[in-house]
Symmetry: C2
Subunit: 439 residues, 2 copies
Amino acid sequence: MARPVAAVRYELITLGDELLLGLTANSHLTFIGAALGRQGARITRNVTITDEADQIAAQFAESWARSDVVITTGGLGPTCDDRTREVVAAVLGQELVFDDSIRAAIEARFARLGRRMTDNNLKQAYRFSRGEVLPNANGTAPGLWAEQDGRVLVMLPGPPNELQPMFSEQVLPRLTRLGLLAEREAYVQVRTAGIGESALEVKLQPVLGPQGEALSVAFCAHQGQVDLRLSSPSGALPMERLQEIARECATLLGEDFLCIGHDSLAKVCADLLRSGEHTLAVAETATGGLLANCFTDVAGASKFFAGGCVCYSNESKMQLLDVPEDILIQHGAVSSENAVAMAAGVAERLGADYGLAITGFAGPCGGTKENPVGTIFLALYTPGGVWSRRLCQSGPRAAVKQRAVNAALDWLRRELLRAKRGGCCGSAAAQQRAGGAMQ
Amino acid sequence: MARPVAAVRYELITLGDELLLGLTANSHLTFIGAALGRQGARITRNVTITDEADQIAAQFAESWARSDVVITTGGLGPTCDDRTREVVAAVLGQELVFDDSIRAAIEARFARLGRRMTDNNLKQAYRFSRGEVLPNANGTAPGLWAEQDGRVLVMLPGPPNELQPMFSEQVLPRLTRLGLLAEREAYVQVRTAGIGESALEVKLQPVLGPQGEALSVAFCAHQGQVDLRLSSPSGALPMERLQEIARECATLLGEDFLCIGHDSLAKVCADLLRSGEHTLAVAETATGGLLANCFTDVAGASKFFAGGCVCYSNESKMQLLDVPEDILIQHGAVSSENAVAMAAGVAERLGADYGLAITGFAGPCGGTKENPVGTIFLALYTPGGVWSRRLCQSGPRAAVKQRAVNAALDWLRRELLRAKRGGCCGSAAAQQRAGGAMQ
């Protein structure tokens, strides 16, 4: 198989009524698609069907005929609904053989958990006669692997906590050894923040334009952030050249550049806080804990993250953040004055160098004529002063909340960058540039 | 079409490289699958493919031949990659006609946003000659509708904020009028909390067992909660009987019963707090704002939710919650003593009737020999006293956090139920029953 990895035809068959009924998101597609994508391959088709035997048989036969690698998920469990193993064996013309090593692993698992093993669990101890077993460290159903007709079949259990480690630790290395995946990451990702997709395209034209067909650029926008992935499916540009192009993009982007790689906005802020030995405290209303939560997902957050307050009631703003009652009476909770008082209050109360606050109407209810639903006030307290900014957003509540959090983080990031360069009073200039309403 | 709705063959074709590369979750399957499921129908197959014209043509022809309704998502935009409209028209043997009403809507949208309309946007003003337009209130690309060969075609734009309202407000009513969906909800959902799937099956056997084939029961487990959906695909049991069975389940389940319908655990707690005129404050470390966030997603939360603190540092626990320094020195932050001090501290500081606290090691780092990763301490402060509980969990960080939040909410819910019935000191008994380690 000396074809380029990008031309290998992968198909993913995801089984389960719960997916088709919308009870569970298809996380297998997201996980497996991203993992293959990192190593230069792409799923050409994902089909989700029910657990019915004849549908599985027809779909598997079709996918097998036109693919190089077929991956199935689900349907390997102990109940009578789980017929995938038998159906696929029949299509391949393989026999299922009872494997004592699988039985021993299942029995050991039950013993360890102190549970009684029922006989139907032994159904999971069968493998293809000309195939291998992928041991399951987190459940009873092992995965199955078979190579036949110049093709590869991978069958994985449905629960994500079983499938994901099995795929990363066993399947990816096997596919790589067979030359069906690139040996290392096949693209370079440049992350940006605070710039839209079309503006980004224009800004990067001087670097990306001259590369022509050799360079493939994919844009991916998500709530105020845009990532771009640079790859060279033909192999015309080596990895070193892609990394060079990424660095040229970074230079051109200036402050709009977030990172090369996969770091989150919160992780980039965390690194800037740590390297400057700064601490941060946050206060929020409408975003209800999301701002605090993104820092607590960064490892070692306790080093720089002093804490956060979710202050829905006016009482809590006064009690926890020392917001003066006058401000709440005169300006209301959704105001730049309150945002400033919250940011300063939480920083001072927790002895932090920086304070970041979000207040606003995330919708769908609330809002006033002056400040309709979607109005968000941010405030940033820094060693050099305190500023506020007003955002107007639309869309469903969850999106408004996430974009507000991203806007707040991006503001903090830009301020920390300026502090690192030794600038001061940068915030006012930044706001002017960003065109936000100022208070 | 006098067939039962459950036998109507729906296929969903989702287009987009970003889905296959794992950059975006397939939220269309989840959303459309759930919406059709509520009205008794089911997607029989979902196929995700790239935007390439020949692949779209082949897949569409195949799906069209074997289905009653085909729904496509994506590929209707203004760029040259968006060829779905043309490709599908060719398969159907329909012409595309320029529609002045669509052009007017697109122009009006650009004018309203104060942006200049580029000519490629007019590509979106074409519809099938024998078809209709589904106006798009949230974007430029309208949806398309056609009935042909006794089949229905629905083409929807890709962005979820455009697709979802279009589907709910326009597509569902049209499908219902054609008899392809049930006129009202086709199943009854019983939600439970704090009981596992197999225990639930055993407990409900006296009610569900005798119904035989007439009743279909689907279980869906998610992070400490299990939902069951009762339906009668054959129509043997009318809706009234399904509701009666649901109420019998509720009675049998006692405190393990959460609700009939779709309310979240936080919403059920919110209703109990409101009806008892109680207020709540929360404090958390490892869950980092997730506990607070679930209350702020309930409409009108400011009526009962006093606020929350995310206290990563010891400093913040002392400053915001008055946790005595001695406790942190002697017992550490991950201890029942600290959880109790946090719950009491946040309730007293914010003048709330109830205080709920979570502290622990969510992983992947941290943990001690006594309290390894996955150890979570909960504490509940009530008008009748304050208690703590210890949980041990495993799995990825996000799952540990979500299950800790659900366990805390479920404990609060049970306590509020007892308070409503006029019981007191119920918590101790509940903990004994739940088998949690007690401090």
